[in-house]
Amino acid sequence: MESMIHDMAERLFRDHIGHGLREGAAAGQCPEALWTRIEEAGLPMALVPEEAGGFGVPAAEALGLVRIAGAHGLPLPLAETLIANAVLARAGLTLPGGRLTIAEGAALRLDRRGAAIHASGPLTLVPFARWADRIVTIAALDGVDHVLSLPVKDLTVTPAQDLAGMPRDDAGVDLALTDADAAPLPRSLGGMRGLGALARSLATAGAMETILSMTVEYANDRVQFGRPIGKFQAIQHYLATMAGETAASRAAAEMAADSYDTPAFALTVAAAKSRSGEAAETVGALAHQVHGAIGYTQEHALHHFTKRIWSWRDEFGTELDWTRELGRAALSSPRDTFWHFITDSTAQGIPA
């Protein structure tokens, strides 16, 4: 797929993200200057409809940015901001600009207090919360999904981090929200868990493509027993296996991205998140197996990518969560046969 915004993002990330910037971020330094460039390029608006200020590119293309960011190990909440803006726009709320992040809101409690909506409860494992201006989440009020735009400065943030050292904080909410920051969601996009899962499977696919090419390069360069290790058939098999898992993850993630905002999304995203999470285990393990000791150090860039794909498995539903959901659907499907369930699950326009 030729895409101008993809080319732009590739260039931007290639020129401005290096091992030092990623290590700095893992040590707690938010790369502000890079974020400014990303905002200047307009990337956080890519998934917003044209009428709300977006680029007017197809959703799948806009979501491709998340894969590209993953491929470069971008240590910033671009995926989260992209999705937050799309959800805010869908609810008719103001797009506030700046860094945003997203959280599952299932543990939040909403009450109406006069004109305001009072929100309280915990948000857990919120990516980049302490680097974000707002957390966008979805929670139910009187059985209706509402989008909430929560200013981080008004929350109680408890810092924590994921395996890769990226911020993944908890946030306590106890806040009254006006119409400007809370609105019903007229038509679902798949819930914050689904949208977050889509982002993570796309980023995982991108990061795995980078891991794979780093590993191929290493296998060509590293000499043991008098020849490049890539000449050994065992290493070739590892690489072929990594390629299969990587390709499957990308196909799965793009299948889900392709069904964004359609009824097929509920099941394709379940397939995508669980498939890429499973692949992350294999791809990470084999990449380290091929790299040997050098890949196990912080000097080498490999660890940043493997740790991130392992972290992403635990966000927005684990493999276990998503496969259960998919399996439950398969086993309770009213279709005649499992085959009909499979063909219908990916078909556009058939209710899932």
């Binding site: 794979l212 690489l239 390709a247 990308r250 793009e254 498939r275 499992f338």
Partner: protein
């Protein structure tokens, strides 16, 4: 990294009307066809079924109309293929001809060969087999020893082919053999189109497989005379012809649906009250299948656009073979019920059949080791 990119199939690739027509046809034709027969997957043989299917226009779908075909897209053919396989329809009597030999003849055959053969393939009347493997050449085709020597008016063939699927009932064979000595391991090979019913001095004897079934044969050529017009394509170009032919043999739905009857049985058994863990495993199985199918359809879409996704096809085939070979293990990890060959319990019977069938899945069209070598080189390993 284009190797790991599988663009989604084009919009509309579902061909839902066609799919529903095929389903209705299969529901009628296969009513009462038991699960243990469906488990045979594309090894099931029925000339009658193939002919009926052809009457609906679903054999030779992509062939040009002038040769009895229907000029439909590879993606429409894909829909029919996957519906047939998922239903466990007995397709082998036309399958090889439809998938592999027909396209080869169309690409390399003479006008006479095309006119004589292709319409009959599209009518579901011809069963083809492929004379490729030999006792000393399994994956290593360059070790082929069967030789066709040019004589007055044609060729004399001597040598032995093995693992020739359904040779004992087939009408035609596509033979791969030497036509010359060559220093180049790949040179001096040719292909022939053999009318098995009309050719003398071919001895076909059964090779019984470990499930006790007769699908394979040994085929001995003993000074067999082939007329000149049996040559298919260019003399000496057999190697490159076969390599492009093998591409047809890769990455279709037959590469991951071979155990599908067992999956249907497993889900039937679990449908009543599955535990959370069983749900999760069925979900995993579903996710893998959805993704394999997406990748396989993506390859079909690329082929349809005239691209050459050879490496993507190798990836699908490797993943697909692992998937379909793993299904009996998966079933046994979820349900404690013994496999009983031919048992009255259809789950037990299908499990038994499939357990004995899976070792053959990675033999087809190139072994795992060769596929992985192709993939590794495609990744840029030097």
């Amino acid at each position: 990294m284009t190797l790991t990119a599988f663009p989604p199939p084009p919009p509309g690739a579902d061909y839902d009307d066609l799919r529903q027509e095929v389903r209705a046809f299969l529901a009628e034709e296969l009513a009462g066809f038991p699960p243990e027969k469906r488990a045979e997957s594309w090894n099931g043989f029925s000339r009658a079924f193939s002919r009926k299917l052809a009457q609906r226009g679903w054999v030779g779908m992509t062939f040009p109309r002038e040769y009895g075909g229907h000029a439909r897209s590879a993606l429409e053919r894909y829909v029919v293929s996957e519906e047939l396989l998922a239903a466990g329809a007995p397709v082998i009597s036309h399958w090889i001809a439809d998938r592999q030999s027909g396209p080869l003849i169309l690409a390399k055959g003479t006008e006479e060969q095309k006119r004589a053969i292709v319409p009959r393939i599209a009518a579901g009347e011809l069963c083809f087999c492929i004379g490729m493997s030999e006792p000393d050449s399994g994956s290593d085709l360059a070790a082929t020893r069967t030789v066709a020597t040019e004589v007055e008016g044609g060729f004399r063939v001597n040598g032995t082919k093995v693992w020739t699927t359904y040779a004992h009932v087939a009408d035609y064979m596509i033979l791969f053999c030497r036509t010359g000595k060559s220093d180049d391991r790949h040179g001096g090979m040719s292909q022939f189109l053999i009318d098995l019913k009309a050719t003398e001095n071919i001895q076909i004897s059964p090779i019984i497989d470990l499930g006790g079934e007769h699908h394979f044969n040994q085929v001995i050529f003993d000074d067999t005379f082939l007329p000149s017009d049996a040559l298919l394509g260019e003399k000496g170009e057999g190697w490159s012809q076969v390599m492009s032919e093998l591409a047809f043999e890769r990455s279709g739905p037959e590469r991951f649906l071979s155990s599908f009857a067992l999956i249907e049985e497993l889900i039937r058994v679990l449908r009543q009250d599955a535990t959370e863990a069983q749900q999760a495993e069925i979900g995993r199985l579903s996710a893998h299948l959805m993704v394999l199918r997406q990748m396989s359809r993506s390859v079909a879409g690329m082929l349809n656009e005239g691209k050459n996704p050879a490496l993507q096809a190798a990836i699908v085939k490797d993943l697909g073979a692992l998937y379909e070979q793993d299904i009996p293990r998966l079933a046994r990890s979820l349900v404690s019920r013994p496999a009983v060959p031919g048992g009255r319990d259809s789950y037990a019977a299908v499990l038994a059949y499939t357990e004995l069938a899976v070792p053959s899945f990675s033999l087809r069209g190139g072994t795992r080791e060769i596929l992985r070598g192709i993939i590794a080189r495609g990744l840029g390993l030097r």
